[in-house]
Subunit: 221 residues, 2 copies
Amino acid sequence: MAEEVLVFGAWGSPFSRRVEMALKLKGIEYKYIEEDITNKSPSLLKYNPVHKKIPVLVHNGKPVAESLVILEYIDETWKDSPILSKDPYERANARFWAKFIDEKCLSAIFKACWGEEKEHEKALEEASELLQFLENELKEKRYFGGETVGLLDIAANIIGYWLGVFEEASGVELMTREKFPKLCNWANEFVSVSAIKENLPPREKLIAYFRNRFGVGTASK
Amino acid sequence: MAEEVLVFGAWGSPFSRRVEMALKLKGIEYKYIEEDITNKSPSLLKYNPVHKKIPVLVHNGKPVAESLVILEYIDETWKDSPILSKDPYERANARFWAKFIDEKCLSAIFKACWGEEKEHEKALEEASELLQFLENELKEKRYFGGETVGLLDIAANIIGYWLGVFEEASGVELMTREKFPKLCNWANEFVSVSAIKENLPPREKLIAYFRNRFGVGTASK
């Protein structure tokens, strides 16, 4: 049966890029539909009535929303090139840290880059503390997933690519090589993987987008 | 090999009760350690240095934190009496709605019960809208998991038991039988399952705890 795989996304979103990265890693063909997040399409609202957000994966007519949920769905539906280990403990770890990135790191990074001036030092320190956990979690591994890119690497695309963009757009220095040598090495490795590289929005365009959307960063105020 | 399974929890927490419910459903013996959340133990801080929160499951010395992550770990480690379907789409649905309960419903319910007085009507309406999604998701099923209790039922323990406690403690009426007949039936079925019933904190004690902690509800102000 010919499969129909649709991805509703936005070009600059790390969340819909996650979905595309996983599909590319597994060699699954899909049709990409760019959403205007200021004027959402009836299809998006139909497929994700709860959150009304990208990304949504629609597989043979059935929608799945929430990027981390989609990643697991992809891994369980197309089993080649797994992005989660078979080992329950490693799977739990990947899920734990992916959740940590979405629920803790992202808002801390935003606050460090574009938060209130008077809280800048504190926000910077908090974001650094969170990144330190990820630095430690890398241990001596090439990727979070071990020898190959896995779910946690994909979830960490925010750290591996978008963070550098946020830093440049806001003028804030956060993930320095001195403090985070492993994360920096990992980021370099990560963006060199072809399925990942093909799914990164152009850096300059992204910097312009975030600068335009969130203004000058806290450090430059 | 004799397995060691520890659960760090707090008696009134729906989150650590989730872990106990899953273990009980699967017939796994465990040792329960009650944490004083106002004075956390060195063990808890060692096992969950990131969030410093219960619940933590420690299996043969290895800690897993975050209740939904723990539920998946339990299901993958002890495969009898599965709490997730084998079907990737049903699994994705269960994960999606469990996440929805934690990230959307819980805060909306709290706001409806103990939020600011001037926002009470709006908060009540918002919480009702969210519960309506769950009402619809039940369809004609006995449990969210179908014929047996699954991960989403366990995650929904907040709706199935704690919500009634919140209502009584705060004096707010939210999940009425008129508006949510399916959810009300489900809640009755859910709390009648023996592995669940054994893991519910005493209702009166819980009401007193929440009344004491959060004070008189918005509706009574």
